[in-house]
Symmetry: D2
Subunit: 303 residues, 4 copies
């Protein structure tokens, strides 16, 4: 592993919370709620925060709002936490611009979702060129972000094989089902791969992943950090049991209700979740009540 | 048909060019090229321009750049042309904000692509609410924009049935293959439906569509306007022949190469096309030569 | 147009009913019901019957049952009707075998759906080779059958361009939304293209299609034949009105409920429809009642 | 775990080879090659064989051919091997018929792919009813088979939750990427889940899967059986290393070339692979040479 990459590995290993962006019912940003949410999370063993990710509804914000969110998160975060910020746009030029803005506002790493609006015309070669150019012109190092659930594109292992040796492309967050091992197999040494979902966090760690960005950690950072420790220690039985418990919760919350569910679970756990921004619909009151009861029933939430 | 809608119908009937956004090789905006392109198009019988659409690579621009493009287009357009501007964002709030910016910069209509980042969680009800709220809070009327080729979502006829009666939702641009008649069937009287592709422009007109937004018109406005006249007049034989001719060209250009092809054909026709913005790749030189030769071979371009 | 193909054109032009296969509640074949259904249809101006198509649930039958169905249909059909039979299987060998069986049982044409089980590995070249080999070794001429709604594959225009000149591949049934004109544009002269849905039957005829295989004709052959006459005569206004009327019915019936809806509408119209074969679910009684009422309300069915 | 299910678990645990069906260049069945292939595999520690699966090209065979293949496989298999046979058809009736035929020809278990031709209309409820009815009327117990790569349908966890308690539905082969843990989480105790790909075999075992049906085992049964032992023993480091080695091979072979690749690798390893049945194309000679060299280069094949 190159010296340089090794220094990043420590900063991007462990559990990250993909910070939710708080809104009121009219869709106005609530920066004070964001601030207090992060202050609460600071007390956990989380390695850091991913601001402006999918669960942060980054594409639902104006650029100005994005930077207000980032600035607030950076201010609220304790200094030991690593801050990643979503800086991937549909063009190389705008992605570079966002990396600059994110760096100015205190992010340590940029997180680059692949451009997908013109997906059918973006070859692996074009994508490799894109990531490389952004990394080279960004003031901060970057991680790739693969999430076919929203982009309808699964990054190819050929792209990872190619860009994983770049000194400023330090890793990847993979939210796709079933590809993480293939990315690890194809990546160059030192490339840090993070699970993008609690559904496969434990197996990711067993197979060589270095951490996870888990929406579950927005409301429940402690069991996520515990599962990380079990994975790193290779404690199979205990880890498997906790993995299944967290998967069950994750399916109830994020799997069934997406961002709205994550935010509801934050409300239940003493954070401010609130509604997602329209047109993303909030949970129906009866679904919310049911979810709360279910979380209590499985002993994950106190009644 | 309501009085109000009737007044819009005239302004949105006919052929629109979805204005391409000119860049240099580094992806820098070339506003002067945009200005001169539109000045050339002003001489045609085009009904107007769609600025900041898919062929305008609107999602590859920053908001600031989008408004520079719009301002330039408005300044260049002759006063008889209708200006539509892409104002659809991933959230209701940001879409409203863009409608305001577009209005301030001179657009007559906003064009609302459906939010699709969280597609799986956006029900018809959420979409109807979104379009209605944007229309109500927008200073200018809007048209919907359906393009599953980029969004992976086909708007349902139920959405059209519901929103087509709204006084400020005056119509729809439909780029989906094979749904236009179903939208006409389900829309309320006075709702203006435009074909989003030359591939089905003639049949759209025969079935009750009022016009088209045709990338072919960026380089070849005149035959597009002629096909419109034939469709309106119901001249079956002549119209069919021209429809097939334009479809052949459209498949060679946009069908095969997308925005890069449209821009190349603009170069051939005396406009400035230039490269698309990365990561969208430019045409390979050999493909470009071949396309030029093919367009000459079928008599569409002078050698 | 080659002499040979011209002789086929007459036999495959006009309206075809895609014959539904009658079952009882346990999924047993009811050949007598099939017989009487066809005898009723014989009185119409239908050009012929497509036996063992998608609406015939051909993939839900054993090969033995398929041949019983075909034999019965052939026996019931009046001699002026053209009989097409679904003979497309997942392999070239089995497709050829089915063409032989169909010919022995009296079919005039085979209908070849594209193999799609291994879709990702079947290139255009492989598909062209497949269709050509089947046609060459089949005792009867064949038509292609394109239906991405069930196969998830849209045949490319390149395939049509290539195989449409083959003397024994006489045409195509296209059930895809929005591609029919492109197939006509790319096909060699004499290749007969049939619309696979009432949704685009009229425009198909206006653009050069020669007929349609319309599930609506299973229950309502007469208005389908009337629309054919209007299309052939180029009567725009009257044709458009009837097209929209039939589209409305088609969306209520086949669009919403698929084969189960087609069969229910047959029951309403005095044919035997019955339930589809499991696991395809029958219509719920309340949906069936509602559909009946809706068909009466729009004047398509007598109360 | 119910007594009955426990007795099955032993029979379906371990590694299964999804037996390839040998053809000559004209697509004729070569039953003697099948016989000798299985005799060679008998010497391995494989738990058994899946005959008439996806890699057996079951949908490319006539029913008569399917039964000849099964009969031959049963005759060739040593008595300690468990025989599963693909018996899933598009209808409940035909699936039951195939289960009967398979039982008569010596299969111990039926493997039920989900009906997918009418996928859009088959609800979870319809699917549950289908699997239950087939199981109840089948003379042999069945396993489900989930392979969205060919069916475009991912079985829902709700289906598994419901049918996994049925005494005659003893397990499931899951070839989908990333869902296996979720199926385990939702299945009733005693339901045996097998990985359908070497890509996730080791993690499947660590998370509670009981075995795998691995195309890699057609040519290389021994390392597959070794990985099974490592998984069962929970040997993390050694298992991970072998998992990655096998994944690399699997991606070269099956991942890149599908059935054609599996068959080529069988040829290399001393079995008869031969070409797949048309229209599935055989590997190009140059690709075949390259694959052979690559397998030698990574030490998986002797030069």
């Amino acid at each position: 592993m190159a010296q340089e990459k090794a220094s990043h590995r420590e900063k991007v290993s462990g559990v990250f919370a993909p910070i939710a962006t708080p809104f009121d019912e009219q869709g106005n940003l609530l920066l004070d709620k964001l601030f207090s949410n992060i202050q609460k999370l600071n007390k956990s063993k989380l390695r850091g925060y991913l601001v402006l990710g999918t669960n942060g509804e980054f594409r639902s914000l104006s650029t100005k709002e994005q930077m207000e969110v980032l600035k607030t998160a950076v201010k609220a975060a304790s200094p030991d936490k690593t801050i990643m910020a979503g800086t991937g746009a549909e063009s190389t030029n705008v992605s570079i611009e966002l990396c600059h803005l994110a760096a100015e506002n205190g992010a340590h790493y940029g997180s680059l979702i692949n451009p997908f609006f013109f997906a059918k015309q973006i070859s692996d070669i074009a994508l490799i060129k894109h990531f490389t150019q952004v990394a080279e012109r960004s003031p901060i190092p970057v991680l790739l972000y693969n999430n076919p659930g929203v982009t309808n594109v699964t990054m190819s292992t050929a792209v990872i094989r190619e860009v994983s040796s770049h000194p400023k492309i330090v890793g990847m967050k993979d939210s796709s089902p079933g590809n993480l091992s293939a990315y690890i197999l194809n990546a160059k040494p030192g490339f840090s791969i993070l699970a993008g979902s609690a559904n496969f966090f434990f197996t990711a760690l067993l197979m060589g992943g270095v951490g996870g960005v888990l929406s579950l950690a927005d409301a429940y950072p402690d069991p996520c950090c515990k599962l990380y420790d079990l994975g790193v220690a290779g404690k199979l039985e205990e880890g498997r049991a906790l993995q299944y418990e967290l998967m069950r919760v994750n399916q109830m919350v994020s799997g069934k209700y997406g961002v709205a569910g994550v935010k509801a679970s934050m409300d239940f756990a003493g954070f401010y979740g609130g509604p997602p921004r329209a047109p993303l619909p909030p949970m129906k009151p009866e679904d919310r009540t049911k979810l709360r009861e279910d979380l209590i029933a499985i002993g994950f939430l106190k009644g």
